[in-house]
Symmetry: C2
Subunit: 260 residues, 2 copies
Amino acid sequence: MDKLYVIKIGGDVIDDAQRLRSFVASFATLPGRKLLVHGGGKLATQMASQLGIQQQMVDGRRITDAETLKVVTMVYGGLINKQIVALLQAEGVNAIGLTGADANALTAHKRKAAIDYGFVGDVDEVNAKFFQLLLEQSLVPVLAPLTHDGQGQMLNTNADTIAKVVAVALSSVFDVHLVFSFNKAGVLLDSENDSSVLPELSQTMYAGMKEKNQVYAGMLPKLDNAFDALSKGVQKLTIGNAAEITNIIENKAGTKIIHG
Amino acid sequence: MDKLYVIKIGGDVIDDAQRLRSFVASFATLPGRKLLVHGGGKLATQMASQLGIQQQMVDGRRITDAETLKVVTMVYGGLINKQIVALLQAEGVNAIGLTGADANALTAHKRKAAIDYGFVGDVDEVNAKFFQLLLEQSLVPVLAPLTHDGQGQMLNTNADTIAKVVAVALSSVFDVHLVFSFNKAGVLLDSENDSSVLPELSQTMYAGMKEKNQVYAGMLPKLDNAFDALSKGVQKLTIGNAAEITNIIENKAGTKIIHG
């Protein structure tokens, strides 16, 4: 099977023009087929605040009301997505920006939970054939963290989750290396010390660390997504720093998530 | 050659949720291959005003400064484009939203003119092969009025012009019917009276009307684009009301732009 890199970058990279340019230049040099998923960053929050839209919070979770959905559709699907696509094009990468609505790439349903999260989507289906078509044409999909419900409604969806479901769906046709990149060197034993990075992490080790409260709370959803991806067929998975993407794909940096 | 409808809708349709839904439902019923180009509407102006961005005007023309470009990239490329795509998906049309940066669909250069229009792009090249690929997969491209310069810069580009250049580029592989739709029944002899619509208009007739000042000034760029498209190979061209799109493609409404 052909190799495919599915790389997720977080909002922190997007918020810093210099880091974004530097990441885009490194991403452009990754060999072969690749796909990028980007998060949201602080821009949407800033924009909402400038537009006088109150952020609704319930139990510490942000609610995507109708006005907030408009803002994230503009900022994630328009501004950030097209900025990244244009930068990639300048590096000679034939990028194509997409939300889940485009070509029915990602269908979702509005989350059903005790709390009403508003217009938040949980993914039902990935249009793997469409991604395959693009990748076979040497196009590089750039996914914004937005899906749709097939009934005309856009939905806000977590970027880590999008990266996971796309990687899982494509793992039957490509040899997928999924990278969750962020602003740390990987999974750290001491969250303030990048040199405490674990070279590898298995589910068993993870369970042990959780028992000893050694995992930073913010890492839990990311790691849960990671182990879920691995268990569902993603061939290789690394968590690491976006600035080290070249070293990560050469197995010289980051925390490799392993079976066991 | 297979038939292809290239339909341009203006901002007035987009600004009115009811009219937009109604247009989308009609567009969905058009047979065979089709492509939609949408304008901007008042949303970008409203958004700029809400964000406190001053509209720069020179000689009655709006200037796209850096802040305004951000707004149009968000509003045209994000909010409006994805809203239309999601609505089309709900009608069973496999739409894919694009700007000129996506898959290098439309490259442009920053306009060189006596007036500095700011980040306004004049189109250099259409990636016809990419549009062909999508159309052959029964995908329906939905184009926002944005291009890029290949150097990382997004550019604001007139939607009529985008519809024209795409229609011209695809006229060598498809039998193209280009429709410029707006809020009038077609080219009118009396701009206040929809029943004064001309069934046909040739370049000769147009020249005569211009001499007698019978053409509403706002129609001049649209008609110039129309005759340019026809002279460059577009097989058929109609100007008419977006609400009458079905009648227009059945030759029962609108003004047909003809050779001669």
